[in-house]
C-alpha cells in the first residue's frame, strides 16, 4: 500500500523477528510481551475456574476428586492473582501508556523494564512447573500450618514462583515511581496528570512497599518446609496467625493493586465518551492516594474470627469503614461526570459503565464484610467469594477490557469491530452477574468457600452460577477472536479516533519509537473536553516545541 510509505515509522515497524521483540527495551514492546503472557495466564486460570464451576453443578463430587478440586481452586487463585490481576493493567496498559501520558520518551529504566518481564517469565516457569508436576492444594493464601506441615503438593515450587514474580512487580513499581517523579513533560504539574497516572503512582507505591512483606512470608514458608524452622508451627513455638498478619499486610493492599488501575482506566474513558471533564478531579486523584495508604491499615478484617483479640477486630473494622469512603467518593464523581455530557456508547464506554455498576455493587457488599457481626456469619463463605469477584473480575477485568478497547487503536494502529465489541461487553456483563450474584445468596445461606461437595439444598444457586460461568467464558473468548482478527484486518486507526485529550493521543497511532516527534509541553489540565469554562484556553495539540 502506498499509505504505508507515507506513515511515520512506528514502534511496530522497528524490526521484526523474535530477537527484535525479546531484546527490546521500548516500553511499548515490553507492554506487548506482558500482554501476550498475561492473556495466556488469564485463559489458563479461567479454564481452572470453568472446571470448578462444572464440578459444582451437582452437590456430589462426581467430576474430579476432592484433591483435584482443591488443586484447581488453589491454582486458579495463584495464577489469577499473581500472574494476571496484579500485573494486568500496570504491566500492559500502564507500561505502554505511562510514558506517553506524561510526555516522556520511555520509562526511566528501559532495561529494568525488560528485565522485569524476564523475571516474570522466570517466576511463571516455576509456577507452571508446579502445575505440571501436580499443582498445590494450599489455596492461594498459603495459610500455615496447612501449607508448611500438611500440604502435599509442590508448595515450595509454587511459592518460589510467586516470590520471583514479586520482584518483577517491585521492579515495575520502582520504574513507575521514578518515571512519574522525574520525567513529566514541561508544564505537566501533579494536578494536571491524568487520573490513570495517579492510580499508577498509587499502585506502584503499594507494589514497592507491600510486595517485600509477601516475599518475606514466602521465604519463611519455604525455610519452614525445607529446614524445619518452626516459625509458624505452634509445636516449635511458632505462631500460625503471624503468617496471616504478614500475608494480609501484603494481600489486602494487593487488592488495591488490582483495583486502582481499573479506576484509572475508567477515569479516562468516562470523560472521553461523555465529552465532559472528570467531575471533582482533585478528589478523585487524592482519593487514589488515600486508598493506597489506608489500604495498609485494614488487613486485620480478614482475621475477625481467627482468634485475634476482639478489640483489634473492632479497630480493623473501623479502619475498614474509613477506607470505603475514598471509593464512595470516586463512584459519586464518576456518576456526576455523565451529567450534561454528550454521551456516546462505544465499546470502552459500555465496559466502563458496566464497571461502574459492578464495582459499586461489589463495594457495597464490602460494607457487609466490614460490619463485624455480619462478617462472623459470612466470613469464608461464598459471600466473600462473590464480593471479591465483583471487585476483581467485575471491576478490574471489566476495566481492563475497557482500557484494552479504548487504547487498542493506539497499541496496534487498527480499529476493532464495534459491533462485536458491544456484543461481547454485554455478554460479559450478563454472564458475570449470572455467575456471581447467586454466590451472594449462597454465602448468606452459609455455603462455605472451597467446598468440593455441598448440601443439596444449595444446588439451585450453584446451577445458576455454573451456567453463568459458561456465558462469561464466551464473553471473554469473543474479544480474543475479534481483537486478534483486527490485528491483521482491522481498519487503520487515526491518531486520535475518540477525539480524546490525553497526550498519548497527540502522537501517531501506533506511536513512533520514542513516542513523540517533538517533545510536548502541557498548558492545560487533564480532561479539557469542556469548551465552556475553559474557553479562554486555546484547544491546541500539545505540539509546541519544548522550551529546553
Amino acid at each position: 500500500m502506498s499509505t504505508e510509505a507515507l506513515r511515520p515509522s512506528s514502534y511496530l515497524g522497528e524490526g521484526a523477528g523474535p530477537a527484535a521483540w525479546l531484546l527490546t527495551t521500548d516500553h511499548k514492546r515490553v507492554a506487548w510481551l506482558y500482554l501476550v503472557s498475561l492473556t495466556a495466564f488469564f485463559f489458563l486460570g479461567g479454564a481452572f475456574a470453568v472446571l470448578m464451576r462444572v464440578e459444582l453443578a451437582t452437590p456430589a463430587g462426581d467430576l474430579v476428586s476432592d484433591d483435584t478440586y482443591n488443586r484447581l481452586f488453589s491454582l486458579h487463585g495463584i495464577i489469577m492473582v499473581w500472574f494476571f490481576l496484579v500485573p494486568s493493567i500496570p504491566a500492559t496498559l500502564g507500561n505502554f501508556l505511562l510514558p506517553l501520558m506524561i510526555g516522556a520518551r520511555d520509562l526511566a529504566f528501559p532495561r529494568l523494564n525488560l528485565a522485569s518481564w524476564y523475571v516474570f517469565i522466570l517466576g511463571s516457569a516455576f509456577a507452571l512447573a508446579s502445575v505440571l508436576a501436580g499443582g498445590v492444594d494450599t489455596g492461594w493464601t498459603f495459610y500455615t500450618p496447612l501449607s508448611t506441615l500438611y500440604a502435599n503438593g509442590f508448595v515450595s515450587m509454587a511459592a518460589l514462583g510467586v516470590f520471583i514474580v514479586g520482584f518483577s512487580t517491585i521492579m515495575t513499581g520502582i520504574n513507575f515511581i521514578v518515571t512519574i517523579h522525574t520525567l513529566r513533560a514541561p508544564g505537566l504539574t501533579w494536578f494536571r496528570l491524568p487520573i490513570f497516572v495517579w492510580t499508577m503512582y498509587a499502585t506502584a507505591l503499594v507494589m514497592v512497599l507491600a510486595t517485600p512483606v509477601l516475599a518475606a512470608s514466602l521465604i519463611l514458608i519455604v525455610l519452614e518446609r525445607l529446614f524445619g524452622i518452626g516459625i509458624f508451627n505452634p509445636a516449635l513455638g511458632g505462631d500460625p496467625l503471624l503468617f496471616q498478619h504478614l500475608f494480609w499486610f501484603y494481600s489486602h493492599p494487593a487488592v488495591y493493586i488490582m483495583i486502582l488501575p481499573g479506576m484509572g482506566v475508567v477515569s479516562e474513558v468516562l470523560p472521553c465518551f461523555s465529552r465532559r471533564p472528570l467531575f471533582g478531579y482533585k478528589a478523585v486523584a487524592l482519593s487514589s492516594m488515600a486508598i493506597a495508604v489506608f489500604g495498609f491499615l485494614v488487613w486485620g478484617h480478614h482475621m475477625f474470627v481467627s482468634g485475634q483479640s476482639a478489640y483489634a477486630g473492632v479497630l480493623f473494622s473501623f479502619l475498614s469503614f474509613c477506607v470505603a469512603i475514598p471509593s464512595a467518593i470516586k463512584v459519586f464523581n464518576w456518576s456526576l461526570t455523565l451529567r450534561k455530557g454528550e454521551i456516546t456508547f462505544e465499546t470502552p464506554m459500555l465496559y466502563a459503565l458496566f464497571f461502574l455498576a459492578l464495582f459499586t455493587f461489589g463495594g457495597l457488599a464490602g460494607l457487609f464484610l466490614a460490619a463485624l457481626a455480619i462478617d462472623v456469619h459470612v466470613h469464608d463463605t461464598y459471600f466473600v467469594v462473590a464480593h471479591f469477584h465483583y471487585i476483581m473480575v467485575g471491576g478490574m477485568v471489566t476495566a481492563y477490557m475497557a482500557g484494552l478497547h479504548f487504547w487498542w487503536p493506539k497499541l496496534t494502529g487498527r480499529m476493532y469491530s464495534e459491533t462485536w465489541g458491544r456484543i461481547a461487553a454485554t455478554v460479559t456483563f450478563l454472564g458475570f452477574n449470572l455467575t456471581f450474584f447467586p454466590q451472594f445468596v449462597l454465602g448468606f445461606l452459609g455455603m462455605p468457600r472451597r467446598y468440593h461437595t455441598y448440601p443439596p439444598e444449595f444446588q439451585f444457586w450453584h446451577i445458576l452460577s455454573s451456567a453463568g460461568a459458561v456465558v462469561l467464558a464466551v464473553g471473554y473468548l469473543m474479544p480474543l477472536l475479534y481483537l486478534g482478527w483486527s490485528l491483521f484486518r482491522g481498519a487503520r486507526a487515526p491518531a486520535n479516533p475518540w477525539r480524546a485529550t490525553g497526550l498519548e493521543w497527540q502522537t501517531a497511532s501506533p506511536p513512533p519509537p520514542h513516542n513523540f516527534e517533538t517533545m510536548p509541553v502541557v498548558t492545560r489540565p487533564a480532561y479539557a473536553y469542556d469548551m465552556k469554562g475553559l474557553k479562554h484556553e486555546r484547544f491546541s495539540p500539545h505540539r509546541e516545541e519544548a522550551a529546553q
Binding site: 476432592d66 489455596g139 500460625p240 473494622s317 469503614f321 462472623v376 472451597r450 461437595t453
Partner: protein, 319 residues
C-alpha cells in the same frame, strides 16, 4: 412461596435475629443506594446521549458543597454501620453466666466433641435449647473453623491455643455444622449436624450415651499418670504451686508481673513452663510439649478448672 429455593438460613439462636436485623437493614440501605445510582446513571445516559436536545449550559466540573456533603454523609453512615456491627460483635466476648461447656477438637477431617460428662461424638453435636453453650475449640493439626450458619456463629480453631464460641440455640432442630477454614483434602467433608434438643430430651440423650469418664475425671487420671500430682500435691517434697482454685486467679510471677491463670496461662505452663514462672518457685518443671495431644490437653484443662468451681467459665478477666 419460594418453590423450595432457599433465600435465607434458618434463625435458630438467640443472636441470629439481631444479626439478621443488621443484615437486612444494610441490605435495604445498599439496595436503595445502588438503585439510586443505577437510576441516576441510566437517566443521565439517556438524557445526555449525544444528539439529544437536553439543556447543557451552566455545568461545572466540580462542586465543593456537593463533594463535602457526600463525603460527610458517607462517613456518617459508615460509622453507624460500624458501631452497630461492633456492638453485636462484642457480645462474643461475654457469654451469659451458667454455661454448659463442651470441648470441640478439630482434626483433619472431623470435629470431635466431648461433653462434660465424657460423652464423645464425631461430626455431631447435641445441645440443649435455651441454655448457653460454650464450645472451647482446639485443633490437632491445621486451622479449622467452627461454623453453624443457623446460629450465625463462626470461630477458628487454631493449633496451639484455645478459642471459644458460644451460642444459645432457641429452636429444636437439626442444623448444618461446617468447617469454614480450608483445611486440606477432605475439607468439604468436615462437618455434620448440630442437633438442638429440648432440655429434657438432651438429658435423656446424654443418659443414653456411653458413660465413660467425665472430662475432668479423665484429666485427673492424666494428672496422676503424667506425674503432675507428684509435685503439685500438698504432701509432695518438691515445692510446686498448689493448683486448687488456680483457674481465674491472679498469679504473681518472678519478674514482678501478675497474670490471670486463664486457659492460655495454664496451657503455656504445661507446654513451656519456663516462660512464666510463679514467684517463689524454682523453675524445675519439665515441659510436656509433645507428650500430650490436644484432646488430653483439653481434659487436663477441664480438670484444673474443676478445681475452682466458682471461676468464670471463660477467661473474661483477661479481656
Amino acid at each position: 412461596m419460594s418453590f423450595g429455593i432457599p433465600f435465607a438460613p434458618p434463625e435458630a439462636s438467640s443472636i441470629a435475629g439481631s444479626v439478621d436485623t443488621l443484615f437486612y437493614a444494610l441490605l435495604a440501605f445498599t439496595a436503595a443506594l445502588g438503585t439510586f445510582l443505577t437510576i441516576l446513571v441510566v437517566f443521565y445516559a439517556i438524557k445526555y446521549r449525544a444528539g439529544s436536545g437536553a439543556e447543557r449550559t451552566g455545568e461545572r466540573a466540580r462542586s465543593l458543597p456537593l463533594e463535602v456533603t457526600w463525603t460527610a454523609a458517607s462517613l456518617l453512615i459508615a460509622f453507624v454501620i460500624f458501631g452497630w456491627g461492633a456492638v453485636l460483635f462484642l457480645r462474643r466476648e461475654h457469654p451469659p453466666m451458667d454455661a454448659l461447656e463442651i470441648a470441640g477438637l478439630g482434626k483433619q477431617w472431623m470435629w470431635e466433641f466431648r461433653h462434660s460428662g465424657g460423652q464423645r461424638e464425631i461430626n455431631e453435636l447435641h445441645v440443649p435449647v435455651g441454655k448457653t453453650v460454650i464450645v472451647s475449640l482446639a485443633s490437632q493439626d491445621v486451622i479449622h473453623s467452627f461454623f453453624v450458619p443457623a446460629f450465625r456463629v463462626k470461630q477458628d480453631a487454631v493449633p496451639g491455643r484455645t478459642t471459644h464460641v458460644w451460642f444459645i440455640a432457641d429452636e429444636p432442630g437439626q442444623y448444618h455444622l461446617f468447617c469454614a477454614q480450608y483445611c486440606g483434602t477432605q475439607h468439604s467433608e468436615m462437618g455434620g449436624w448440630v442437633t438442638a434438643m429440648r432440655p429434657e430430651d438432651y438429658a435423656a440423650w446424654l443418659g443414653n450415651q456411653g458413660k465413660g469418664d467425665t472430662l475432668a475425671a479423665g484429666g485427673e487420671k492424666l494428672f496422676r499418670a503424667l506425674g503432675c500430682s507428684g509435685c503439685h500435691e500438698k504432701s509432695s517434697k518438691v515445692r510446686a504451686p498448689d493448683l486448687a482454685g488456680i483457674f481465674g486467679r491472679p498469679v504473681a510471677l518472678d519478674n514482678q508481673q501478675t497474670v490471670i491463670a486463664d486457659e492460655r496461662y495454664l496451657r503455656d505452663s504445661i507446654l513451656d513452663p519456663k516462660k512464666e514462672i510463679a514467684a517463689g518457685y524454682d523453675p524445675v518443671m519439665p515441659s510436656f510439649d509433645g507428650l500430650l495431644d490436644e484432646g488430653e490437653m483439653q481434659m487436663l484443662l477441664a480438670y484444673l478448672k474443676s478445681l475452682s468451681p466458682q471461676a468464670p467459665t471463660k477467661n473474661e478477666a483477661t479481656q
